[in-house]
């Protein structure tokens, strides 16, 4: 479970660096990168900070990951969680943050 930061999309705004509860994200050549990817908790705080969808969340192979990535986009109260494999989007789940969990 970890993240990868797409260097083409990263604009070096440092928001993810500021938010990571493990201080794991650093800046190199004006681009953010995760310094120790094995130390990621998987909390997705950084995804929620990123305005350019540069951060890709994935499961390590040891916990069942096979390459699918999860990205995040916020539009008003709606949070879009986007699941993709390669360049193909598998599905999107939208959550209205004004609505409670059913469970």
């Amino acid at each position: 479970m970890s993240i990868k930061i797409n260097q083409d999309k990263c604009i070096g705004c440092r928001k993810c660096i500021e938010a990571c509860p493990g201080n794991l994200i650093k800046l190199d050549n004006k681009k953010a990168f995760i310094k120790r990817d094995r130390d990621c908790w998987g909390c997705t705080s950084c995804l929620k900070e990123c305005k350019t969808q540069a951060i890709e969340f994935f499961l390590g192979a040891d916990v069942g990951g096979r390459g699918t990535i999860l990205t995040f986009k916020e539009e008003g109260p709606i949070k879009h969680w986007i699941f993709s494999a390669g360049d193909r989007e598998i599905r999107t789940i939208d959550i209205n943050s004004l609505e409670s969990n059913k469970y």
């Binding site: 479970m1 938010a19 509860p21 908790w41 909390c43 499961l59 040891d62 699941f83």
Partner: protein
């Protein structure tokens, strides 16, 4: 040329170490009063730090309609087989609903019925959208009067003289700079300890664990180092979780009423008892007796329920939804495999932590504790941690209103700064920080009841564990930090080693098995009435001293610590000889 970290001195009335659930709320309450200067020192950034980073699925501690706070106390007491502080639990339970209302007023979405009443889940829970609960709390703290926050500063040591706290020392995790913070009172709110034991996923996903891997037991370690009394560390917490992702099971178990089922299709849900520790134990026994793996039986739920589970998990543990979607089979088609986690020390779920009085004062004058770092009151969850933050803040206000006679303690911080410089200047070694961490986790796993030993330990193994952990301290001293990021890792490891050593003594001192799995003592396999008491400990010059104290029950007069003129502790509860 040798490295020499720069030092900046700061002054405040109240220092809060850790801006998580309890710390942020404590700051908010102090800000409501507004007369005293408050500084939160946070290792990461309070917006998403601590247990609530990803969100939370429900408010798990709430007094629902028709119930009273004493019911919650009784539930916690039964679940912990009697070893709780009923005085602490009662004052906590009395504040749960007010804290909940306060969160709602500040933006937390809570599900309501057509009459405007909260929709409950079981007897103690209410349903929410908890994805943004931490940013809400952080904003409450940030917006408070006279409260400032210093993010990305890791506090490592308390400044204590003659049992009176007068501040703390830490360093910036991004630049070579140390902070000496002088304070009249300190609220310890660092959370509990993960990473002591070899984790479920020891490889690439080693940090995919239940409790935040960044909560390293710093508060316990700082307290132990200055002689603060600790309680009930031996009541470890082991969570029953979804396999691999270590995501919560309660949402499935309570939300869609899924039962625990073994690998041959038998429901074992109530076979071993329903206390938290017994649910873990049952799953462990089913596995060791060859009837694993174990599951939550979800293959009977509807597609609509499945969609709701996807959303609920995205709001608190997104990896689980990703696992379902990536695997091509959701819980409606495939039962969810479950497993016990590695043991943690966490006072929000069990009774481990600082020994505190009714004001949440510790045995060190001026030092208070709240949330997961504070002992005696299990099942705090989010709202209980908030209430403890509030009660501690009120205790601190009382102390500050009494005035205090703090004098200057120039120079007392130097040995701490020297330690930072020592690690920054140590020479290269073939033993890395990571190696020592793995060695510690292996020792604890094998000799102090980790996953690979099915949580079982015995007296012989504990003696070996103590010796081996002590040996690691010697290696630890030689570890080199090439920068402050590595210095952070070194201090996180130090915290864990200190907690391990005290934990081993606690496990050794409770010569019974009161809680299956949480403390499965194979040398003393039965529950023993002589151990209806608290196992407490204090670190002294020659090692860790165990103190046995009698239970504080609800008809007992409220426990208030008293201090002598010279600040030494006068009364901290009775002693069992």
């Amino acid at each position: 040329m040798s490295k020499n970290i720069t030092v900046e001195e700061l002054n405040t009335d109240v220092l809060i170490i850790g801006g998580g659930t309890a710390g942020c709320y404590g700051a908010y309450i102090l800000g409501q009063d507004g007369r005293y200067k408050v500084l939160i020192a946070e290792k990461a950034n309070i917006k998403r730090s601590g247990c609530l980073a990803a969100g939370v699925n429900a408010i798990n501690a709430y007094i629902t309609k028709g119930r009273v706070p004493q019911d919650y106390v009784d539930y916690c007491k039964n679940d912990a087989k009697g070893i709780v502080r009923e005085d602490l639990l009662l004052s906590m339970s009395e504040g749960l609903n007010e804290a909940t209302k306060n969160l709602e007023d500040n933006g937390l979405v809570i599900l309501k019925d057509e009459n405007g009443e909260y929709v409950t889940r079981g007897n103690r829970n209410i349903k929410i959208n908890g994805e943004n609960i931490k940013p809400i709390l952080a904003k409450m703290a940030n917006d408070s009067k006279n409260v400032s926050v210093i993010n990305h500063v890791n506090i490592t040591d308390l400044l204590v003289k003659d049992n009176r706290v007068y501040g703390a020392v830490g360093f910036d995790v991004n630049e070579e700079k140390a902070y000496v913070i002088n304070a009249k009172s300190v609220l310890m709110a660092t959370g509990g300890a993960s990473g002591l034991y070899k984790p479920n996923n020891p490889g690439f996903s080693r940090h995919k664990m239940w409790y935040p891997p960044f909560n390293t037991g710093a508060g316990y370690a700082m307290g132990i180092n200055v002689g603060a009394e600790m309680t009930t560390l031996e009541m470890r917490f082991i969570a029953l979780r979804c396999k691999d992702t270590i995501a919560p099971t309660g949402t499935i178990a309570q939300g869609v009423k899924a039962k625990q089922m073994n690998g041959v299709g038998e429901i074992y849900e109530t076979k071993y008892g329903v206390a938290t520790c017994e649910r873990v134990y049952g799953t462990t026994v089913e596995n060791t007796q060859g009837r694993g793996p174990c599951y939550l039986k979800t293959d009977v739920i509807s597609k609509e329920q499945e969609e709701d589970l996807y959303k609920a998990y995205l709001n608190m543990a997104p990896s689980q939804t990703l696992k379902w979607i990536e695997g091509g089979q959701g819980p409606a088609e495939q039962n969810v495999e479950i497993e016990g986690t590695e043991p943690y020390i966490v006072g929000g779920h069990t009774a481990s932590g600082f020994w505190i009085d009714d004001d949440r004062a510790t045995t060190v004058k001026g030092l208070y504790a709240a949330g997961d770092v504070a002992g005696g009151a299990p099942q705090k969850y989010v709202t209980g941690a908030l209430v403890e933050g509030k009660i501690a803040a009120e205790g601190i206000l009382k102390l500050l209103d009494e005035g205090n006679s703090l004098s200057d303690f120039d120079g007392a911080f130097e040995p701490i700064i020297n330690n930072y410089n020592k690690h920054l200047n140590n020479s290269d070694s073939n033993i890395s920080i990571e190696q020592v961490e793995e060695a510690m986790q292996k020792i604890m796993d094998e000799y102090a009841g980790g996953i690979s030993k099915h949580y079982q330990f015995n007296d012989t193994g504990l003696v070996i564990a103590r010796k081996l952990i002590l040996g690691l301290f010697e290696v630890f001293e030689k570890l080199k930090a090439t920068d402050v990021d590595e210095l952070l890792q070194i201090y996180e490891l130090r915290d864990r080693l200190i907690v391990c050593l005290s934990l081993i003594e606690h496990l050794h001192a409770r010569k019974e098995t009161r809680w299956h799995s949480f403390a499965e003592n194979m040398t003393h396999q039965e529950e023993d009435d002589n151990y209806k008491l608290y196992i407490n400990s204090i670190k002294e010059a020659d090692g860790i001293k165990i103190i046995k104290r009698p239970l504080v029950v609800d008809d007992y007069k409220p426990l208030k610590f008293t201090f002598n003129e010279d600040n030494s502790i006068n009364y901290a509860g009775g002693v069992v000889l």
